[in-house]
């Protein structure tokens, strides 16, 4: 280890090689050289192999016509589009499934985590069985199960399962109704925005008043009421019509509504069910990490049951929950790449699969894909560090 006390009298003269500082430098030099030689060796081999296979390199392929179709896109895309558009389609599909997965997995995971801690024996046992079963089975296997064994085995279009009146499930996927807004609906949206802004202002004011006078104001209920009542009034006065575009059986397939392909449904269901087990365990350990003394102390201060949870237990539990929760979100995003195995067109499947096969630019494609995931990961950890710094325990 390097010497830290350079202030003191010079250390007794030792032989050149035994000086930790010099030795450290030599070691680092050796390691750096080895790494450099290794990369030079790889670069050399790669260049030679590429030259031998008559392959060109460069990112110009991004602007070539892709020539392949993607059946599920969020932006306009066709066979005549260019590779960069295919890349964007894949990226957006990854983000879409990750975002939806994160939202639902969080909700379901919190329910499961709390159920596992429930004082009700049956409920907590059920939660344990669910969690221990699904978290110990590989996600890829679960995706195969949902895709090949469940969704592909669904009845044909004519015999679709219809549930909640308007949802149709068949072997071509899930058809859900789509709300249709007329041109006056923007007034309602404005009302919602105003209500949310009002809620924030109200919360700030209530907090100030609480700190100044100790009087409390039922912020949550009031702002919820405003959030419901204001848009409702605007809706009624403006006479906005919101219709539902309902999927209807027309000929050989359902028309109207939103049609979700089975690949998407299988991936989303698999990701949610799998990730929620991990989130449930995180939530459980977070709640258990808050010692019972905290609850008792809060009770001794005269806080009501709800306030004890809201003001004492949950803020402390969140401090334990958030960091691993963020890494689960990252895992979910990375795991969405398993869609390549069931054919949902996300980044890896569109870009590392089809694009790589067609262009043969292995190095560029792999590099870009890895950079995308690296960026997502770095952004998430930047956010996590910021959040951690905010909620970290302030010690004297």
């Amino acid at each position: 280890m390097a010497a830290q006390d350079s202030e003191r009298a010079p250390a007794p003269q030792t032989s050149f090689f035994n000086d930790p500082v010099i030795r450290g430098r030599i070691y680092q030099l050796i390691v750096a050289l080895v790494v450099l030689v290794f990369f030079w060796f790889i670069a050399q081999n790669t260049a030679e192999n590429l030259a031998r296979q008559n392959k060109t390199t460069g990112f110009d392929f991004f602007f070539a016509t892709s020539g392949f179709d993607i059946f599920f896109t969020l932006i306009p895309y066709s066979r005549a589009s260019e590779y960069w558009q295919a890349f964007v389609v894949g990226l957006l599909n990854t983000l879409l499934v990750s975002l939806l997965g994160i939202i639902f997995a969080t909700i379901w995971g919190f329910i499961l985590g709390i159920a596992r801690l429930s004082s009700n024996w049956i409920i907590s046992r059920l939660a344990v069985v669910y969690i221990e079963t699904l978290r110990n089975i590989p996600l890829l296997l679960q995706l195969f199960f949902w895709y090949f064994a469940v969704l592909k085995a669904m009845p044909s279009v004519k015999q679709s399962f219809i549930f909640f009146g308007e949802f149709a499930l068949n072997n071509r996927g899930l058809n859900i109704p789509r709300p249709v807004f007329d041109d006056k609906f923007f007034l309602v949206v404005i009302a919602i925005v105003v209500a949310i802004a009002g809620g924030i202002v109200l919360a700030k004011w209530a907090r100030k008043r609480l700190e100044a006078t100790g009087q409390r104001f039922p912020t949550l209920i009031t702002s919820l009421a405003v959030l419901i009542v204001l848009p409702a009034i605007v809706w009624l006065i403006s006479g906005t019509n919101v219709g539902l575009d309902v999927p209807k059986l027309a000929g050989f397939n359902f028309k109207g509504g939103i049609s979700l392909p089975p690949e998407f449904v299988a991936l989303l269901v698999g990701l949610i069910l799998y990730t929620s087990t991990f989130i449930a365990e995180i939530v459980r350990s977070g709640i258990q990490a808050v010692s019972h003394g905290q609850t008792e102390a809060a009770a001794a201060l005269g806080l009501k049951e709800g306030d004890r949870l809201r003001l004492v237990v949950i803020p402390q539990a969140m401090r334990v929950i958030i960091p691993p929760l963020t890494s689960q979100y990252l895992n979910l995003t990375k795991n969405s790449s398993l869609a390549a195995a069931i054919g949902y067109p996300e980044l890896v499947s569109v870009f590392m699969g089809t694009t790589l096969n067609q262009t043969g630019r292995a190095i560029e494609v792999v590099f870009v894909t890895m950079m995308v995931y690296l960026t997502l990961s770095l952004l998430t950890s930047a956010f996590m560090n910021w959040y951690n710094a905010r909620v970290a325990l302030v010690e004297r």
């Binding site: 070691y27 081999n45 009700n120 024996w121 079963t133 064994a149 590392m352 995931y373 690296l374």
Partner: protein, 376 residues
């Protein structure tokens, strides 16, 4: 007022009355755990309804109406039949050995038996001779197993890795991943803690890059880019490519787990080690790592569980692991039937589940056993 005096004083204790019948025994347990509040009672009813709704069909599918013995898919195609276990039984050889030649399968069996003989005493915490055992398992066993499986010397028939498959390959990738990634992970963790800037930066870059990307991109990279990296004319075995990818990927995760253990050690341990005059490697090997690794055994086992589950991903780059053998058998026409695929998946899920669940139980057990700290 007349003060009355009672000269009745009890001299012996009244015998303890039994607790009310509603608070002890089964009834008491039910009142406490199932019906303590109206809300809880409602949850109990819902839970029981869920069980009544789900368990009988599941039982019927898996056991009650399942087909255990059949010559071909005929019996499984009968209306109302459950899982087709006969299909699994007929293909079990393929699921375990893949395309490994039938007459050479004793070699795989010897590997299994040797592995079990070596791993049981390693996991049995009370048995002595852990160092010898570890050397046997982590160094000698992989070499012996490779020679046995691959053949080509000692008069053994050569079996190329393309023929390996099924559970064998899943276990090979899992065990190799564990054996290779643990030392690399420890070195990376030490590198990240080092105060030599070059080594620290390189370690951080390696760990963060590998942790940021999904395993499937690593496997793709290994399968399309490794052949480009090696000198012209040299080919890299397909299985080896996957092994390199899985091991490096897992090493990055292990490095972070081990770093947690290193950071959890109080500074005094490091200072005490240098005060004893130990050099860096001695102080790490004798003082720091034994304590740090003990702290993070659960984390290490969790990484191993994740690694074992991740081995299923190699099926995407065309290696016949357990999942891929099941997947490819599910279109076997001889056994075609409505529950063919689902039975296969349930079988594979059970195999993975048994391995992962026992690992997680073992991790909990060691955590309790090795918890020599202060437990309140």
């Amino acid at each position: 007022m007349v003060v009355q005096s009672f000269n009745y004083v009890r001299t012996e204790m009244e015998a303890e009355a039994p607790a009310p019948g509603t608070s002890v025994g089964f009834v008491g347990w039910m009142r406490k755990n199932l019906f303590s509040t109206p809300g809880n009672s409602l949850l109990t009813v819902l839970g029981v309804l869920l069980l009544v709704w789900a368990v009988p069909p599941l039982y019927n599918f898996l056991i009650g109406k399942a087909v255990f013995i059949a010559e071909n898919g005929e019996t499984c195609r009968v209306e109302g039949a459950g899982a087709c276990w006969a299909f699994i039984w007929a293909r079990i050889n393929f699921f375990i050995y893949g395309f490994y030649p039938m007459e050479e399968q004793w070699r795989v069996n010897i590997c299994f038996v040797l592995g079990i003989i070596l791993i049981v005493p390693l996991l049995w915490l009370d048995l002595p001779g852990k160092v010898l055992n570890a050397i046997l398992f982590f160094v000698i066993y992989p070499i012996v197993a490779f020679i046995l499986l691959n053949g080509g010397i000692f008069g053994l028939q050569s079996v190329p890795t393309e023929n390996w498959g099924g559970l064998t390959v899943t276990l090979i990738i899992g065990i190799t991943g564990i054996v290779v990634s643990l030392p690399i992970g420890i070195v990376l963790a030490l590198g990240r803690q080092s105060n030599l800037p070059v080594i620290k930066t390189l370690s951080i870059m390696f760990i963060e890059l590998w942790r940021a990307v999904p395993l499937i991109t690593v496997l793709f990279m290994a399968s399309v880019m490794l052949p480009l990296f090696v000198p012209t004319g040299m080919t890299v075995d397909k299985l080896l490519r996957a092994l390199v990818g899985v091991s490096l990927f897992s090493a990055a995760y292990l490095a972070e787990v081990v770093r947690g253990g290193l950071q959890a050690l109080p500074r005094g341990q490091y200072e005490a080690a240098s005060a004893m005059g130990l050099n860096y490697w001695k102080s790490m090997l004798l003082i720091i790592l034994p304590q740090a690794l003990k702290h993070v055994i659960p984390g290490i086992v969790n990484s191993f569980i994740a690694l074992f589950k991740d081995t299923s991903l190699v099926s995407i780059v065309g290696i016949f692991d357990l999942l891929q053998t099941v997947q490819s058998s599910s279109s076997d026409l001889k056994w075609a039937g409505p529950h063919q695929a689902i039975t296969g998946y349930i079988f594979a899920a059970m195999v993975f589940w048994i391995f992962c669940f026992s690992m997680s139980r073992y991790s909990i057990f060691t955590e309790r056993r090795l918890d020599t700290g202060h437990k309140r």
